[in-house]
Symmetry: C2
Subunit: 437 residues, 2 copies
């Protein structure tokens, strides 16, 4: 093995990035949200970068993995997961929900689906896998997509990610000029700006915030404003089966798909059996262990992969193979992320022939980043980079500034908690039980 | 993209390699069997090699793919399959069995499972994929396993592949000193020689040749001669469900697994339901399309992958991911192959963590090869090469000689047909209907 490809050092930088007051069924995005930046430095002097969730439950095992990695090659991706299993130890559950036993589930209201030790480990390892691929690509002069079997398209389509939102956070936070969007007209105005600025041709509305009829009205307003464009609605599992079926029936002519209308495989299978609207998920199926039952019961028709959850880019491609085998569609989920992860998403999405839906991305909402050149959506698409590695470069000043914010935080924002953020505006707010409607 | 990685030329060399008179349920191996050697030459002057089946049904589409490939990069593996679909045209079924419609099956007695246009295309493309990986690895100085995420073991275990056999072919053919093996004592002697020469620690007997009790006796003799060693029996689907259950019951304490006792998913599912002996397959599940039903019905517990069938090394890894997801075991099938394919098998096997069984290989039976240094089994294992690419080099003189044999063949051996070969000894022989017993 090339000595130059052996890992010499790993740097972890937890940061806090600003996030607008976007509403979801659990509450509201915090003004600052934690992310973790991973740098893998080879003996040859090449640095690869990765990015993942930054809550404590991720940062702690990441430190163990970072310590264990030096001396291994950046090509040793298959060994990374066994290593993570060995060194990450007693990974605890994130987001304040229960223990991290192998089969534990967090509250069904959680936004990232099942939360168990393996999934957290995979979410951690994913940042290292991406960083290794970036370093390997740079070292051998190949873009990451070429290390994944090559791109099958030159650009990747993304959809506009619409949110009900406030004009500003109730307390601290960075200002923006989007204004509030709390009704159908506000949602359409937001969509219009997204379409005009970035050319997005499909739209996803985060739902589960208001009573279903109000969100149905928002989708209808979008359908009227953008006739024929693919529309999606995602209440993060907030509805009962009957409510889900009611919404599906109301919107059956408008929706490209309905995302996680209800919580759990039982509920999703029941909704699926009662509607022709395709169901997508990033909550019902987020681990391999959930695949067999959900697929056997036809509970979902589209899996929205998230390379963080699934353990990186190679495993995302494995998921694509599984979906192809079972005739299930594939697209991509997004949580708040920065440009490193967007680059990783774009590279892997470019390599999957069967990707048939525009991918989700929160990126347009993120005004802060740690890369020198922000990604730009044109015609709703990102061009796939052919530069070596991911094709992004760290802006070390920005990284240092966002790390300082993390260092200076008194603990308020280091753990993402949308319900706690909501309590800043509504002291009586509690995480809603599901089904909420 | 590196100009050096762009494909400049593709060379195809059909050859005939000698093969001993090994018996199976369809007949006997021909004295010479066709293989196809693929060379991919880059603009940078790097040559990568691959190998696949050499029957006309494979050679013809391979010529179309070879013509279409120049100008593409050796990294463009994901695009290779769409290209093959586009250019290979009206692929016909191989092995004299019916049309090549998408869902056609050959006679259930066929040794390679379902035979349809897509599978033949994948078998063809696999040789190009391996050749591209070999070339890419050589160009960037990385072993193929590193291009597949890295080895998780330094050597790969193989099992001894035992056959009932004659001492010599009835007509033309190369001689060897193995002698005949037509009874339990002969099988044990063969196993002893394999164990002594190569250190194999597990044994697979090709069955379906004699009545089941005679093959049961052979396995019992092996169990007595090699107590505690993993044993397998593979009649290539020749038995009925009751016969399969009878054999499974008789050998339940001796067998590691029973391979394709009967033909078809219905039969395999029925056998599986009636025995605790694990069932392995390289006939019931040989394409992605066969996976969902077979897994849902628990028809097989171990898939014996063949990177030729499955479309190369990356797709073999995808299959491993599918098997992991569904709790199905994975090992490797072998058809008559040479050292290029053995190198490819060893590289991919080294990268799959869940490989829990010794792989099959006919290689010890092959006295001819096209590489300069033959692989050597030690302790039943092959060391995984860390040299760039596959770690093998073409012996051009040998390749030319075996190609001459193919050129000079009057058509007798260019299509592998074990029943036709049997007719040289037994003019009345017809491909047996299944179940044979």
């Amino acid at each position: 093995m090339h000595t130059a490809l052996v890992i010499e050092d790993v740097r972890l930088t937890p940061i806090l990035v600003s996030d607008p007051p976007l509403l979801n069924t659990q509450g509201v995005h915090q003004p600052y949200t934690p992310r973790l930046i991973v740098e893998v430095v080879t003996r040859g002097g090449t640095t690869g970068v990765g990015e993942t969730y930054g809550d404590g439950a991720y940062v702690e095992p990441a430190r163990s993995l970072a310590e264990a990695l030096p001396g291994r090659a950046v090509t040793d991706l298959n060994g990374l997961f066994a290593l993570a299993e060995g060194v990450c130890g007693d990974v605890r559950a994130a987001d304040g929900g229960g223990d991290a036993g192998a089969d534990d589930r967090v509250d069904a209201g959680g936004l990232r689906g099942v939360r168990n030790a393996e999934k957290i480990r995979l979410s951690v390892a994913s940042a290292f896998e991406v960083a290794c691929l970036d370093a390997l690509g740079k070292a051998v002069g190949l873009p990451v997509h070429a290390l994944l079997g090559g791109k099958v398209r030159d650009s990747v389509e993304y959809s506009a990610y619409l949110f009900h939102r406030w004009a500003a956070h109730p307390g601290p936070g960075e200002a923006d000029d989007w204004g509030q969007a709390l009704d159908p007209a506000g949602v359409v105005a937001q969509a219009r700006r997204f379409a005009d600025t970035y050319g997005f041709g499909s739209f996803k509305l985060k739902g589960g915030v208001f009573e279903p009829d109000r969100e149905i009205a928002a989708i209808r307003a979008l359908a009227e404003a953008f006739p024929g464009r693919p529309l999606r609605l995602d209440p993060n599992g907030a509805w009962s089966v009957p409510t889900s079926l009611y919404v599906a029936d109301q919107l059956k002519d408008a929706l490209e798909y309905l995302e996680d209308p209800t919580s759990g495989t039982d509920g999703m299978a029941a909704v699926s059996a009662g509607t022709d609207v395709p169901l997508a998920t990033n909550m019902c199926v987020t681990t391999l262990a959930e695949v067999p039952e959900a697929f056997a019961r036809d509970a979902v028709q589209i899996v929205l992969s998230d390379h963080h959850y699934w353990g990186g880019l190679t495993r995302t491609r494995e998921l694509a193979g599984i979906c192809r085998t079972f005739g299930v569609g594939l697209s991509m989920h997004s949580n708040t992320h920065l440009g490193i992860s967007l680059a990783a998403m774009t590279h892997v999405a470019a390599t999957v022939p069967e990707l048939a839906y525009a991918c989700d991305s929160h990126y347009p909402w993120q005004t802060e980043d740690v890369i020198t050149e922000r990604h730009t959506f044109t015609g709703g698409r990102l061009t796939v980079s052919d530069a070596p590695g991911l094709g992004v470069a760290l802006d070390r000043d920005r990284l240092a500034a966002l790390h300082r914010r993390w260092l200076e935080d008194d603990g308020t924002y280091r753990e993402r908690d949308d319900a706690a953020a909501m309590r800043a505006a509504d002291p009586g707010w509690a995480t809603p039980a599901v089904p909420r409607w």
